[in-house]
Amino acid sequence: MYRDEEEIEREKMLLSEANSSEYKLSVSPEMDIMEYCMKEWRGNTPAAKRIRKGYEAVAQKFASIRRIRGDNYCAFRATLFQALSQAAQLPRWLQSKDFTMLPENLLSKYDWIKQWQLRQKPGKRMGEIKDEIKEYLILLRKKWKNISEIKGPLEKQEACDKLFKNEEEEYSLYEALKFLMLNTAIELYNADKSGKRVPVFSWLLFARDTSSNPCQLMHNHLNHIGHSGGLEQVEMFLLAYALQYTIQVYRLYKYSTDEFITLYPNDPEEDWPVVTLITEDDRHYNIPVRMCQETML
């Protein structure tokens, strides 16, 4: 998870590439999947062939791909963009009256949350942690509500494109998601401690040396996301649980294994909406768009 020098350099290159050609857009315009695949993967190595076969499989269900800005927020960016593009209503947890009281409530119970790493806003003075996070949550709810109320799919898409243009607003939404993940982790941790049933990934999450409890999870993982690290796989489960969404990922380097299409969580609830992502390597995520499935009967 902690990137070595080579990867940080590659990331910087991707970022500057994205910055020079489409600097405003965090989510690039769509491109035909097979055209994209042929352009990016020309070689004949086993890896290249595997990835191309993977893209062919995606193309059975989706017509286009949109590249996601490649920084350490890309898993959030891809997931949230897909969720908002198809949002028809506010999720149950966003409708809760106590939603914006979450930071205050948690901080009063757990003193260590005072060490939550807020995103530095250039030129702006940092307020109290509970107030800053409350602002993020209010923004998340406002944007979700506005976009879900848009009926026309084209207009909904335009509204999403407007939101994801590499400005502070976009990053505030990711910080909100981070905090929601912390909240979910605390719930799972407490449930497990009091003998209640928890999903398997919760054991894996807290089995790591670096996150044996929510406080460590915050210090060693959540505080770094968007800066020096992205989301590990077990944290994708946590994100899915926090949003109550099923995140379906085409993991192209796993083509022809049973992990090619991985669901987070892997035994999804019926009523959780599904969003689909593509990854070539479990590090960077892009999104497939334009479902155009064809089924043989």
Binding site: R290, M291, C292, Q293, E294
Partner: protein
């Protein structure tokens, strides 16, 4: 060669100028398909595209590009569907009385592949240019 696309390629003759000069008529057809048993499966011999969860702009058969209905995208030669008279481009309106105009892709698949149903009766609409050509030639 490029991998097969999710939908068959657009048919140029459907978009030809001729289609715009002549009136299109939509005819309703009732198609009764007797499924073919192949081992554990009941085969219908055609493919579907479309659904309310799908992108309608990818559909080469619909006249209205916001139409999210279920369309026949392929028909297996000699299969049960072809024998019953189903044609590529047909829009499926009903299956055994169930509406198919407002269903997801997966719901459509389920309605057509119920394990205990050996016969499915489809109501389809078909865009017909032939009738219009005949009529204009006779006048």
């Amino acid at each position: 060669t490029a991998a097969p696309r999710a939908w068959p390629p657009r048919r140029p003759w459907l978009r030809a100028g001729l289609g715009q000069l002549l009136a299109r008529t939509d005819t309703e057809q009732r198609i009764e398909i007797h499924k073919l048993r192949q081992g554990d499966n009941l085969i219908l011999g055609f493919s579907i595209g479309g659904g309310i969860d799908q992108d309608p702009t990818q559909n080469p058969f619909s006249e209205d590009k916001t139409d999210k209905g279920i369309y026949v995208t392929r028909v297996t030669q000699g299969g049960p569907a072809e024998v019953a008279g189903l044609q590529i481009g047909d829009k499926i309106m009903q299956v055994n009385g169930w509406d198919m105009t407002m269903v997801t892709h997966d719901q459509a698949r389920k309605r057509l592949t119920k394990r205990n149903e050996e016969v499915v009766r489809l109501l389809v609409t078909r865009q017909s240019l032939q009738k219009a050509v005949q009529q204009s030639m006779m006048s």
